[in-house]
Symmetry: C2
Subunit: 340 residues, 2 copies
């Protein structure tokens, strides 16, 4: 019960401290009966090794950091992050790591995390959410040479490991669908300005239009902050432009947009069709299924941690690049052209 040490266990089992350490760490060179005896003592005493001592001696803490930079205010606004965090946490559990969470809100916070987000700060590695352009955090962390993986493409990707989905291709694919359905004025509600994910999805939107021989009308592109309210506002603006379809950078934006459409006395998809992005289990207030790009949020978080563990075990170089698949899920909100 009390604060037992390896030494105590060794005495109780009639062996040396080293032997107990070997048993605890599952080293091969321990005879079967000694191992059994030691394990029995460990079991009955409820002994657990002191992690600080272990970390100090072995230079491995079995602790990973998750950093959400300042510019990712969305942690609260968007259900994406809770879901992502679940995948991350489960991967940590399954691989025997502890997860430390760093929510960076202020400039002060950012400075304060540096002593902690490092090898000497307990962490074996760190997973950082991709941030807006101009956010120096990732570059600064890269300089510390702590094993790091970025969730989402970072702006400066040279020598930085990251995991992402192919946002450009996925968005192009979603747009192709709308174009095939015959919509003529397709708008785009983007995410928060200057973030790679927003840029990539917008790029896919534009590529699809161009490849279809359409002009890109800048007035039909409105950015947001990934919140429902900002999707609503963006749609109100777009409604004055006479659009017949909208591709949004996230489901929550589509939900806000659809709310604006309904408030204007119009119907989805007959008057305005929608395609979203994420396919999180949100409930559409319209009571109709949202056509959307499904990205594997939970597996994404899980895989991100596994990639980080790979970096920790096998070295930072070469930088890892993991791209996960998406899938267009067709439901009602995109409509059918003949009904219009």
């Amino acid at each position: 019960m009390a604060d037992l040490t390896l030494e105590d266990i060794a005495r109780l089992a009639g062996v040396s401290r080293s032997t107990v350490s070997r048993v605890v760490n599952e080293h091969p060179n321990v005879s079967a009966d000694v191992r059994k005896r030691v394990l029995e003592v460990i079991r009955t005493t409820g002994f657990h090794p002191n992690l600080a001592a272990r970390t100090l001696a072995s230079n491995r803490s079995w602790m990973l950091g998750l950093v959400l930079p300042r510019t990712v205010s969305g942690f609260f606004a968007d259900p994406y992050f809770p879901r992502l965090t679940q995948g991350i946490a489960q991967a940590c559990n399954d691989h025997n790591y502890t997860l430390a969470l760093f929510l960076v809100t202020t400039k002060e916070d950012e400075e304060r995390i540096f002593p902690r987000v490092s090898r000497k700060g307990f962490l074996d590695g760190v997973l950082v959410q991709s941030a807006a352009i101009g956010d120096q955090l990732i570059d600064r962390l890269a300089e510390t040479s702590i094993p790091m993986v970025v969730a989402g493409r970072p702006f400066h990707a040279e020598n930085i490991s990251y995991i992402d989905v192919d946002n450009v291709a996925a968005s192009r694919n979603a747009m192709d669908h709308l174009i095939r359905l015959g919509y003529r004025r397709i708008a785009h509600i983007g995410g928060s300005p200057n973030s790679p994910v927003t840029l990539d999805r917008k790029e896919g939107y534009m590529q699809a239009l161009r490849e279809a021989g359409r002009a890109v009308d800048p007035a039909l592109i409105v950015d947001s902050d990934f919140s429902e309210g900002s999707g609503y506002q963006a749609m109100r603006q777009l409604l004055t432009m006479g659009v017949d379809a909208v591709f949004t950078a996230s489901d929550i934006l589509a939900i806000g947009g659809m709310r604006a459409v309904r408030e204007a006395g119009l119907r989805v998809p007959q008057d305005v069709a929608f395609v979203g992005f994420d396919d999180l289990p949100l409930t559409s207030p319209i009571g109709l299924g949202l056509t959307t790009v499904r990205q594997p949020v939970y597996p994404f978080g899980y895989k991100a941690i596994e990639t980080l563990i790979d970096v920790i075990n096998n070295g930072i170089l070469p930088p890892r690049r993991v791209i996960m698949d998406t899938e267009l899920i067709i439901r009602e909100s995109c409509g059918a052209p003949q009904e219009r």
Copy 2:
């Protein structure tokens, strides 16, 4: 840049290791000029102390754990937890603690966290989300005598510190409002069964009815799992009972309930009035303000951590009891009786 130690700094500054340690830890007994000299070396070298070594020597890790038990699946379904986590994380930042996150999903997870959720596992203390009855986690953690605070009243509260809002009084107050407005058949959509918060809000619901001389009709009480969809389902069931008002255990349940009302071709509040609980910045699909009990979710998380720090610094006993205030926010969804 490299891995400097106290010893290195001491050599560079021409002092002893202890002196550097004192400077780093802001001990008073260092002369001004020595302190200045040492700080200068620390600054130019970018030295940060090794936290594992510090923890081992001082038996203090400056790390806190946040545990979400298995029965709190709501981490994903309800925006309450992300918001709570923000308050918790900010308090940790402000008090120089690192936050370790333990999402317990499986029985296996639960076993795996025990070596880690302890003093020897790096943690100075732990904040645990209150769980459903029958969940042994809190009791088991209490036995380890690690400083602990429970967020939300735990079932067995003897000698356990917790922070909560007065759910009974707040619910009674919300119900009094509906009763005053003249509603006759007021239903209740509860949270997940067997959790203290669900029981307390239900108790408030029942107390208000009894004090008003009304009978409690068990058929008008339906539990849920705190998700929008379950609120919707509960309301579908209640609609067959001819209710004219509903008090829900959370806003997200009210939103699901209102969706069911609208789908049935009825109006809020004219046909069915709603009062929710939380006052998180959700957007109601109805496009009308939700009358609700505002609880200070972010400050709640913040205060929970400060309470935990108090327990760490000043001892586990006596158990702390912090009750935070709520406020009934009256908007449109509760209606006015004369309009009915």
